[in-house]
Symmetry: C2
């Protein structure tokens, strides 16, 4: 065992994916506690704010190798640093966005893409009418300049905000250029080019999940439109 110094206990093994997905939420909450000069927080409080079970929160933090104090809680600043370290934040993460359409331009301006170390260094597009313009100071380059750009700026993260028809091709270009992870917003299944990490966000799908649940709540969907006229209350209180 390595010496467990004052900086925290060594974490164990891999971190479950659902835990990873919750870390950014904890991070945000911890940041606002720091801003509010709160020094300490219990798992019950933080879990309530995050909308998760307290045991789940403690389990999540235990994966990071936390050092909460029984009877007191967690040190807000320390915990925030641990979460940041787990997420590999607190360093520079240059990003290139492929596709300078509505979504690409909006993402280039969004706070989430321009804070916490993230920095949009360029957009790329195929449209010559776009190339050369800037969005909030960020230049739009031609897609042919991608490779040079990625190397020069040390870009590791690529964002795909093109039409679905172009997504797979541009993902391959990004991977070839040296990008190591891709966030895809195009409504297409993007095969991981060369083992590059791909994560997709499908805006239409999110809406469709909602309509699914709305129909369910109404008692539809169970059959082909024939449904015993529901006895009033819906099944799920939540």
């Amino acid at each position: 065992m390595t010496s467990a110094g004052a900086a925290g206990r060594a974490p164990r093994g891999r971190i479950p994916e659902p835990t990873v997905a919750r870390l950014p939420v904890y991070r945000r909450l911890l940041a606002s506690l720091v801003a509010g000069r709160i020094r300490t927080v219990s798992s019950t409080e933080l879990a309530a704010a995050a909308g998760v079970n307290a045991a789940t929160l403690r389990r999540d933090l235990s994966h990071l190798g936390t050092y909460g104090t029984p009877g007191t809680g967690y040190d807000v600043v320390r915990l925030g640093e641990m979460v940041d370290r787990a997420l590999a934040l607190g360093r520079d993460w240059p990003i290139v966005i492929a596709g300078a359409g509505n979504l690409g331009r909006a993402l280039a301006r969004s706070r989430g893409f321009t804070t916490g170390g993230f920095r949009v260094v360029a957009l790329v597009d195929v449209d010559p009418g776009q190339v050369g313009r800037t969005i909030e100071g960020v230049p739009i380059a031609h897609v042919e300049q991608l490779a040079e750009l990625v190397v020069r700026e040390g870009v590791a993260l690529g964002v795909v905000a093109t039409p679905a028809s172009a997504a797979a091709d541009v993902a391959r270009r990004l991977a070839d250029a040296g990008v190591r992870a891709i966030l895809n917003f195009a409504p297409a299944v993007v095969p991981s080019p060369g083992g590059v990490l791909v994560r997709s966000v499908d805006l239409a799908a999110e809406l469709q999940v909602l309509t699914f649940h709305l129909a369910r709540a109404r008692g539809e969907g169970a059959s082909l439109g024939e449904e015993p006229p529901a006895g009033g209350t819906a099944d799920r209180p939540q």
Copy 2:
């Protein structure tokens, strides 16, 4: 048991959440098969295109009460209709978007929000400078007009694209106005107002999940920066 007519078998019980999240992907793939005049597809083929295991796909479809043909596969048109029905698509879904900033405007123009029955009837904002303008024909109204708008247009879906500080308040307004489900893009935990369904998409969090995995792939994150120089190959072949 109800008579299992030609339209499909009756589905059983509730549908698991991960299955629901995959249905939109299947839907998209089926639509392109229809466009390509393909009549039939096997679970193996469709699963490969969707990037999931074939058994998972069959299990997913079985929740819908499918009627595939052993030895042949699924009828593309029929299956597409079943997925659409499960997602409650093929009807009109008016949407209101709260927040006419970069993201709200981009969403109002995005295809995912304007096809498949979805229709953005209005954006609302607090900024008087925005009110009265239109985005691609969609009017920007004042947030005070929300209630009237929701009732008049029969809006069931609300989208929150405001700063985090306004998200909870605007979600409450949407719920009070009669919206039954909310898609939240603000980086905030939005408590479900009055039992309304809330689903959140956090753009910054998506990037952070990627940086987590990039650091992991490099062998970081396991300790506090001290790491046995990895023996060459990474753990995960994928």
